[in-house]
Amino acid sequence: MTEDAAVVDARGLRCPLPVIRLAAAARDAAPGARLTVLATDPAAEHDVPAWARMRGHVVVGSGYDQAAGTWSLTVEVRDRPPAA
């Protein structure tokens, strides 16, 4: 988790809801802002980087808290690509 990142708490939510919550936060964020999503669904570990790649954002950090069973992934929001 990065210090200056806003947190999107998606713990307990099933895929694809963590990515949906993160995307909603990214839509309203300024370019350059950082968002950290917390998730317990194991798909988030793969799907957050894949989402970032498809939407042109950048994953700047990730980690797994074994005791809590929680993934945290931090993305830096880039200019939103035009809606498909």
């Binding site: 895929c15 990515v19 949906i20 995307a23 669904d41 194991p42 798909a43 793969h46 989402w51 790649r53």
Partner: protein
């Protein structure tokens, strides 16, 4: 005296089934519709080969003759000797036997196996079950393994067994089995090639030491899986003593005979089936990418199986999408977590670094029509939009 348990309904009925809505079977990978030749061969073998092929009676010998003919035909189809073909009960059992038997036979060489990260779970799990340290070689975004990375893993520690599928059945990407087999041969390591998604659709070639085949994938009846083992591969039975050392109890003769007959039939018109389905997959790839927002069509666009296509939709629950499409008359597969029995997402999609949610996998049967595919493409964008609306995932 009354029986408290209700009697079960009979398994068969003479009543005509109620008229069902038109359905398109677009989930043929590992479960193709039964080919007419397979059905006829199966029925013939039930008439002529129902007996136990191990018995010395006329009936037993007749069953033995059918089984021998089936093995001879299967051997010819893959370029092997008849005695190298073993018939087991399923594709999974064949993969398990290959890994467990080789691991036992080469125990003294090492306890490490090298496999692509996108091998079938049956291969990876069998390796772990055998107590092997299974090194999973990463794959590119297309799903293809890098032969140099695979080779480097072989050189690390003495290796008991290497495993590489001929093509990935989940995304269709072909693997570099020629280059990897050259590397394993040079090091004296047996290579298990999972040809389960390939045989009957593309040529598998001679680059393997053990080859597993799935008759269900080319349209045979359930009840057989094949393992072809080159002479000279060191292995040891892991089950108690039996006349059939690879698959104790021996095969279903009718299922083996149907597998052989239907493989001959599908190989005879493979070129035409390839041309037709390859063009349909090209159409799916192009139109899905153009007509569904926020979608990624995955797998190699060119070096691929002719009949498999997979894509993932952002912000979509795979289970809901499969259900929505099923209701509209289309059976499709999915690698998304919520659609499988495990809660883990597809290890194949994860290893490729593509979305694991919102995944749809099509396996086009040999008799799929262009109309089926066009109808599917027409309903897909609406189905995706409805699932996204249910999740409140609009304008993201």
């Amino acid at each position: 005296m009354t029986d408290p348990t209700p009697s079960p309904a009979p398994l068969t009925t003479a009543d005509a089934p109620a008229a069902a809505p038109a359905r398109a079977w677009l989930d043929a990978s590992g479960a193709a519709r039964v080919h007419p030749v397979a059905r006829r061969a199966f029925e013939q073998a039930l008439d002529d080969g129902w007996a136990d092929p191990r018995r010395l009676s006329t009936e037993g010998r007749r069953a033995r003759a059918l089984l021998d003919a089936a093995r001879e035909s299967l051997a010819a189809a893959v370029g092997a000797r008849t005695e190298e073909v073993h018939v087991g009960p399923s594709h999974t059992a064949a993969l398990h036997a290959a890994v467990l038997g080789t691991a036992a036979g080469r125990r003294r060489v090492g306890t490490r196996a090298v496999a692509s990260a996108v091998e079938r779970a049956a291969v990876l799990h069998a390796g772990e079950h055998a107590g092997l340290d299974v090194v999973r070689v990463p794959v590119a975004r297309t799903g293809a393994v890098d032969p140099d990375a695979f080779t480097a893993a072989l050189d690390d520690v003495p290796t008991a067994l290497a495993a590489l599928q001929h093509a990935n059945g989940e995304v269709g990407t072909l693997q570099p089995t020629d280059a990897v087999h050259a590397a394993t041969t040079a090091r004296g390591v047996p290579l298990l090639v999972d040809g389960g998604a390939s045989i009957g659709h593309v040529d598998v070639g001679p680059a393997w030491d053990l080859l597993a085949l799935d008759p269900r994938d080319w349209g045979s009846v359930p009840g057989a899986g094949l393992l072809v083992v080159r002479r000279g591969v060191r292995w040891r039975p892991v089950a108690p003593e039996d006349e059939d050392r690879w698959f104790p109890g021996g095969p279903s003769v009718p299922a083996a005979f149907a597998a052989a007959a239907s493989l001959e039939a599908v190989l005879a018109d493979r070129a035409e089936a390839d041309r037709r389905r390859r063009a349909l997959v090209d159409r799916v790839r192009a139109r899905v990418a153009a007509e569904v927002p926020d979608v990624e069509v995955v797998g190699d666009p060119d070096a691929r199986l002719p009949h498999v296509v997979t894509f993932s939709c952002l912000y979509v629950d795979g289970e809901a999408l499969v259900t929505e499409l099923d209701r509209a008359g289309f059976a499709v597969g999915s690698g998304s977590a919520c659609t499988s029995s495990s809660l883990e997402p597809s290890h194949v999609l994860a290893a490729m670094g593509v979305l694991t949610h919102g995944n749809v996998r099509l396996g086009l049967d040999r008799d799929v029509t262009a109309e089926d595919v066009d109808r599917f493409l027409a309903v897909l964008p609406g189905a995706v939009a409805r699932v996204r609306a249910m999740l409140g995932a609009q304008a993201l």
